[in-house]
């Protein structure tokens, strides 16, 4: 190819601009998605969860989660006495294939889905030494797996046990609130597959979101409120025994 000097004078600066653009990166969300218009959270309704494990399976399929690790899981509580001291908790394979029937003396029993609480004052983000995990402008705590060192400090700092080290990428990983879906107007994989509506994605900046009304009219809680993490996973009907 014969490129004349004149052509080069035009092409080179253009290439330089294009290269800058490539380096800076352009988000490929749906064209109308503006991060600042959203503030994501999740509503988890204990009164509706049936422990079927659909969410755990769906999350694993959607996000290619390796076996033995969990971006979301379901716990079953059995509170045998009046106090919160005598409780049994189990989560066989994270509840992926449901739960076997409980035998013996029964008290109250219920299922609690767990996931990343998408904390607004995220302790895991605070400790990341390089900025590989962060809170996005729309309130989702994400991991940049191209930048993560795998030091595991964030995993230590999470009070909820929702992080793990992916053995395939050697980087930290956790629930991303299906960021690749919610930025396209879809809901998360777990919410999509939940048959009872126990899990509902919430956009706390959208006044039309039905969860807004729900939060105003029901008693909701977050996990470990004394740690002031600004958790945005709200639980309806959460018993005091839940850890």
């Amino acid at each position: 190819m014969n490129v004349s000097r004149r052509k080069l004078l035009v092409l080179l600066p253009a290439a330089a601009v294009a290269w800058e653009h490539v380096l800076a990166g352009t988000p490929e969300n749906s064209p109308n998605y503006k991060e600042t218009e959203h503030w994501w959270g999740m509503l988890l309704d204990i009164t509706k969860c049936i422990g079927c494990g659909s969410c755990v399976r769906a999350c694993q399929l959607e996000n290619h989660v390796p076996d033995g690790y969990f971006r979301t899981w379901v716990e079953r509580y059995v509170v045998r006495d009046w106090g919160f001291e005598h409780i049994s908790v189990d989560s066989p394979e994270g509840g992926k294939n449901g739960f076997p029937a409980v035998t013996g003396e029964m008290g109250k029993s219920f299922f609690v889905p767990k996931m990343c609480n998408q904390c607004a004052d995220s302790p895991c983000t605070q400790v990341c030494p390089v900025g590989a995990t962060f809170v996005s402008p729309d309130g989702v705590v994400l991991v940049d797996k191209k930048y993560c060192l795998g030091c595991r400090y964030c995993i230590q700092a999470c009070p909820y046990g929702c992080r793990f080290l992916n053995p395939d990428t050697n980087t930290a990983e956790k629930c991303s609130l299906c960021y690749h879906r919610i930025t396209k107007g879809l809901t998360t994989a777990c919410c999509e597959s939940c048959p009872t509506g126990a899990r509902q994605l919430a956009d706390l900046k959208n006044p039309a979101d039905p969860v807004h009304e729900f939060l105003k009219t029901h008693s909701v809680q977050v996990l470990k409120p004394h740690l002031a993490t600004g958790a945005k996973a709200f639980y309806n009907g959460l018993d005091g025994s839940v850890r």
């Binding site: 690790y69 969990f70 899981w73 716990e75 409780i87 049994s88 908790v89 189990d90 989560s91 394979e93 994270g94 767990k114 302790p123 605070q126 400790v127 990341c128 030494p129 390089v130 900025g131 590989a132 930048y147 993560c148 060192l149 795998g150 030091c151 595991r152 400090y153 995993i155 230590q156 700092a157 999470c158 009070p159 909820y160 046990g161 929702c162 992080r163 793990f164 080290l165 990428t169 050697n170 980087t171 740690l227 850890r243």
Partner: protein, 397 residues
């Protein structure tokens, strides 16, 4: 099942291995050795002068090896430069990278250089080949070892040591803060953590230098300066008493307040952590050395008995402080954050983060120290002649 009770599914596997236990142990030795060196330089405790240079070289040897356990632990060690390129200012780990760099370059290396400069120039002039080149580089091209130049060096060195003391505290206090600031983990989260780490670092560093001095002196066929080791042992005892008091304070406070984590942690200490915490760390690693050292202060014991007690106490101390790091790092991961279960640590042997690697990384600094001692001898024959062996023996009795 690999665990008892209930653990969050992602918690069953431990995140930080024996290499992360080794890291605070090594940096602790650095800080402690440096504090001992500064005793002579800044606080003019002349008795410990024979250990001054050895303490500095020990600190350097261990500081050079310290990043290795971290590199071997990282999922992506090739990205570790990111900590210097884009450090996250709210992260204690990131800021520690700079504290480490500051301490290595601006404090330790400069202090060693200033103290050894005259010897370096002389050795450059008297050696040949590769050694001559190495010394030549170390002179930075300056051959000025006049009386005045050395006086300037001494002044600047004193200032560096002065800055070095809080720097050494910062070095290991930061490591303590890396754990102490994690609110998710009640075994770690405590304002006492940095203080406990600093004092246990001093204890381990002082014990290490004392042992090395005794060993190297014997190896060189010289007489151990009893006034020196007696003084070091005394400082070891004082520091140990403070360290032990702090750890007991933490324990008593936990038992008294008995918050939601207490029952779970208490059970862990009585079962999974019993051997390493109660037997190795507290009894064998702290109480017995303190009692032994206290004996040397209240009873008139002869030099041979004292040397034996110092050697035994020193060894037990190092074992105890290593156990302390183990109990903090591993102990903090054995219990579930739900306070309902416990897991086990499966330490590999011939693995990237296994026991063999840990042993190698513990011995490597000793190898580096050997090289440093050969390159920058802490003692000249002149020094040894100044304390005739017969005289030092009599002084002890």
């Amino acid at each position: 099942m690999p665990f008892d009770g209930f653990m969050y599914p992602n918690e069953v596997e431990l995140q930080w291995s024996v290499l992360i236990v080794l890291y605070p142990f090594l940096t602790g030795l650095v800080a402690g050795a440096f504090i001992l060196a500064s005793l002579e330089r800044v606080f003019l405790v002349e008795a410990v002068k024979p250990t001054y240079r050895l303490a500095l070289l020990t600190a350097l040897a261990f500081l050079l090896v310290s990043p290795l356990p971290l590199q071997l632990h990282l999922g992506h060690p090739e990205r570790s430069l990111e900590m210097y390129l884009t450090p996250h200012r709210s992260s204690a780990m990131a800021m520690f990278g700079f504290v480490y760099l500051w301490y290595l370059m601006a404090v330790l290396v400069v202090e060693i250089w200033l103290d050894y400069r005259k010897d370096i120039v002389l050795m450059m002039q008297s050696s040949t080949g590769l050694k001559k080149w190495i010394y030549g580089v170390m002179t930075l091209g300056s051959k000025n070892i006049s009386e005045h130049a050395l006086k300037v060096d001494s002044r600047v060195g004193w200032a560096i040591t002065l800055i070095g003391i809080p720097s050494a505290f910062l070095l290991h206090g930061y490591v303590g803060f890396i754990f102490g600031s994690v609110k998710a983990n009640p075994w770690w989260s405590s304002p006492l953590m940095p203080v406990v780490f600093i004092f246990s670092a001093m204890v381990s560093g002082i014990a290490a230098v004392m042992l090395l001095y005794m060993f190297v002196t014997k190896y060189r066929g010289k007489e151990i300066d009893m006034r020196c080791v007696d003084t070091i042992a005394r400082y070891l005892l004082y520091t140990f008493v403070i360290d032990f008091s702090l750890e007991m304070l933490d324990l008593v406070h936990r038992i008294y307040e008995a918050d939601e984590s207490f029952r779970s942690l208490d059970f862990m200490v009585h079962t999974r952590l019993y051997l390493s915490q109660v037997v190795i760390q507290i009894i064998a690693g702290t109480v017995i050395p303190i009692l032994l050292l206290a004996l040397t202060q209240v009873l008139p014991l002869n030099a041979i008995v004292r040397k034996r007690i110092y050697a035994l106490s020193g060894a037990l101390t190092l074992m105890g402080i290593f156990a302390m790091r183990w109990n903090v790092v591993i102990g903090g991961q054995l219990f579930s954050k739900s306070f309902l279960g416990y897991t086990t640590y499966k330490m590999g042997f011939v693995a990237r983060e296994g026991l063999l690697t840990a042993i190698f990384l513990t011995l490597l600094p000793l190898g580096i120290l050997w090289v440093l001692v050969k390159l920058l001898p802490p003692w000249s024959e002149k020094d040894a002649a100044a304390i005739p062996s017969s005289l030092s023996g009599q002084q002890a009795d």
